[in-house]
């Protein structure tokens, strides 16, 4: 009888997944996601699209905050920079959308060096405030650089056409977001189990000890910022394409807070946690509305007309409940369930 998951070799320890069945279920999940655009209505598809874009951004933030332990309150700055980089390159200078997507990663990555540099001397709350200030500076810079960004008027963006495939339709655009989210997931999982990822985690756990072990704090902290900003910038470009209109107003500060909430609820430092957190935060209002609607039409109407206030309250409530009862987040809960499942009726 199997009594637990034991890692007997180093290879097993750094394997991408636990076992072949996990590969199988992951493949089935991907197949289900591929089928989804054909069976979901436009509204459900838009929810799925936003979840995929948010998951990409959350995975980007997870590298910085989850893996490396550097708190960022200004990630919306990278998001908006990525969206504008794509819009300027593609809509304004008619460049190929692939160059636009690359630019959406590279420009925020370059900008992250500006905010990353102070991180070498700042920690915790001080770093968080620095990143927050960065997001305000970015917004002001975008508004002032009218010759490039159209200032407050924003830039309209069309969904791309690449390699003879038009991503204009909702289903096609969802596939694009799915492909990028999947690539990002694999990339972050691989980063986590590489030398770089272990260095990030070492810095998060104790940066003095990490330095003693020979980890170059400056280089790795900057690398964390650059990698995180690159991924977040691409998520920003996708978000801009989803909105079809890129303006500073479309990227409110609240997005930074939502991203942190996703990591807390999902489980800090886990790629799976970032994905699960995104799904929960993304679907929580809709699920609540459906459940409440089953009991009373009035409750459903209340949720419809006061949706945003109730959503904010729900987010707050969920974060408090997770911090109090499940600080390891959804991924922690998942590990508990899995352990209970395998060991039952034994406790350990």
């Amino acid at each position: 009888m199997r009594t637990g998951d034991y890692k007997q070799t180093y290879g097993e320890l750094v394997a991408l997944v636990d076992s072949p069945p996990v590969w199988l279920w992951s493949a089935v999940l991907v197949l289900a996601l591929i089928a989804a655009p054909h069976v979901l209505n436009s509204y459900a598809l838009s929810l799925l699209t936003v979840i995929l874009i948010t998951a990409t951004g959350a995975l980007g933030l997870n590298i910085l905050t989850g893996y490396t332990g550097l708190i960022s309150l200004g990630h919306v700055g990278f998001l908006v920079t990525g969206a504008y980089a794509y819009a300027v390159l593609v809509a304004k200078y008619q460049m190929h959308p692939l160059i636009g997507l690359l630019g959406a990663g590279v420009v925020p990555a370059a900008a992250s060096l500006v905010v990353g540099a102070p991180s070498l001397r700042l920690k915790g709350l001080y770093l968080a405030i620095t990143t927050l200030a960065f997001s305000f500076i970015i917004n002001t810079a975008i508004l002032e650089m009218r010759w490039l960004t159209n200032g407050a008027r924003g830039i309209s963006v069309q969904r791309p056409q690449m390699f003879g495939v038009s991503f204009d339709g909702d289903a096609a655009f969802t596939y694009l977001c799915l492909a990028i989210a999947t690539l990002t997931l694999f990339a972050t999982l691989n980063i986590r189990r590489s030398r770089v990822g272990r260095a990030f985690v070492a810095i998060r756990d104790n940066d003095t000890a990490a330095r003693v072990m020979g980890i170059n704090l400056h280089a790795y902290k900057l690398l964390a910022f650059v990698t995180s900003a690159f991924i977040t910038g691409i998520a920003g470009a996708l978000y801009g394409l989803y909105l079809s209109f890129v303006s500073v107003e479309g990227f409110p500060f609240l997005l930074s807070i939502e991203a942190l909430a996703i990591l807390i609820v999902g489980g800090l430092g886990s790629a799976l946690g970032a994905v699960l957190g995104t799904i929960l935060i993304g679907l929580l209002p809709e699920a609540t509305r459906i459940i409440l609607g089953l009991f009373s039409a009035q409750m459903d109407a209340l949720f419809t007309t006061g949706a945003q206030e109730l959503k904010s309250m729900l987010y707050g409530l969920v974060i408090i409940l997770f911090l109090r009862f499940q600080p390891r987040g959804l991924v922690g809960a998942w590990h508990d369930i899995r352990r209970t499942w395998v060991h039952w009726p034994l406790r350990y």
Binding site: R2, V50, A152, R153, L243, S244, A307
Partner: protein
């Protein structure tokens, strides 16, 4: 024994997916219409500070719908209003519009939220082809180029500002001018309109400021305005900003001739400004509540809405009312079997439809903007109202 909980989760989600698929109803040719009901959808900011406009506009829609329902509905079908909150967040406006179109399956749309939000949902509306009448934030992008199914009631911000500045310039020849605008799309539009008149009339602008959206303290801006010696002032704020500016000017003991724009022309603003707001000029395309048309509208609205809703009435209620009247009239003209194509064709044929809250509304072939007539009005703090001056 199932060792992997993932397998159980997968089974469960597959079952849910199958159930969802089975539950999907067959889509009719034009949704939102049954033998007894017609559904009209709307997405507005109903929470947060912009709720002041979103709630008021939705009350306007409700008044027109209640009025039509009281008269027997549209050719015997009662109108049901489906309202969704977007919190003034663009991504949520898109989701809200998709929800009311695809899940609630409405027949037509009214609204929709702010200018940026309307612009962002334009591809969704165009793709869906649903008849839509926009009434909250008329910006040129919404009707240039004209979209087959999207009609806009109102007047452009640029025209409004040009009308107001021209009026103030003619009334105050040779005076020194001051202007302050918000650092967003709205502010840019106000500035562009202002600049075009400055050039044409060679106005002497001695102060030109720009403030960050959400700014609360205007002490230094107003001090600069005072020191510049401006005698005519265009306050380019919306609500809280204009109140703060006027209070600050009152504190500084100066009272330039002041003009404000219609997004901030709501009666509660006058109460909050107090004496500082007396005599300020405003431009708008809807009737002031102090006039005969405004009073008649309030009398009509009172029995049709709740007490709380009645208190929430402002100029956006009138724009919402007018849009809903035009849409309902178009659907009605389609007879017993209205369709999207017929409704769009009838909206296009809209000619001098009187709503009682603004000048008669007309569209036409390739014309999707009603281009409403503007009027100047002046604040009277004694009655907390705006009164027409021309």
């Amino acid at each position: 024994m199932i060792r992997h909980p993932a397998f159980a989760a997968l089974l469960l989600s597959t079952a849910c997916l199958a159930a969802c698929l089975a539950a999907r109803p067959a889509r009719a040719a034009d949704p939102g219409i049954t033998d007894t009901e017609i559904l009209i959808g709307d997405v507005e900011p109903l929470t947060g500070p912009p709720a002041l406009l979103g709630v008021a506009a939705s009350i306007g829609h409700k008044i027109a719908i209640a009025e039509a329902n009281a008269a027997g509905g549209i050719n015997g079908r009662k109108i049901k209003y489906v309202l969704e909150d977007d919190g003034y967040v663009t991504a949520r406006t898109i989701q809200g519009v998709k929800k009311v179109i695809d899940v609630d399956k409405v027949f037509a749309m009214l609204g929709i939220s702010g200018s940026g939000q309307s612009i962002a949902v334009m591809p969704v509306l165009e793709k869906a082809g649903i008849p839509t009448v926009i009434d909250v934030a008329p910006v040129k992008f919404l009707w240039e180029p004209p979209r087959k199914n999207v009609f806009v009631i109102g007047q452009s911000y640029e025209e409004g500002i040009i009308h107001l500045v021209n009026y103030l310039a003619d009334k105050n020849p040779g005076k020194k001018w001051g202007l302050i605008t918000q650092d967003d799309d709205y502010g840019v539009t106000v500035r562009d309109g202002f600049d075009s008149v400055v050039k044409a009339k060679k106005l002497n602008v001695v102060y030109s400021g720009n403030y960050k959206k959400g700014q609360q303290d205007f002490s230094s801006d107003m001090l600069q305005l005072k020191e510049s010696g401006a005698e005519v002032f265009l306050a380019g704020g919306i609500i809280a900003e204009n109140i703060a500016m006027m209070k600050e000017l009152e504190k500084l003991g100066v009272k330039p001739v002041t003009g404000i724009f219609w997004p901030g022309r709501i009666e509660p603003v006058l109460k909050l400004m107090g004496p500082a707001g007396d005599g300020i000029y405003a431009v708008d395309y809807v009737e002031p509540f102090a006039g005969a048309a405004g009073k008649a509208f309030l009398d009509k609205a009172k029995p049709l809405v709740s007490e709380a809703e009645f208190k929430g009435i402002n100029r956006y209620t009138m724009t919402g009312y007018a849009a809903a009247k035009v849409l309902i009239a178009a659907i009605e003209r389609c007879g017993k079997e209205p369709s999207w194509a017929c409704t769009i064709a009838e909206l296009e044929k809209t000619k001098d439809v009187a709503t009682g809250v603004m000048a008669p509304i007309s569209f036409g072939p390739g014309v999707r903007f009603s281009n409403q007539k503007l009027q100047i009005m002046q604040a009277d703090t004694a009655t907390l109202s705006f009164k027409p001056v021309n």
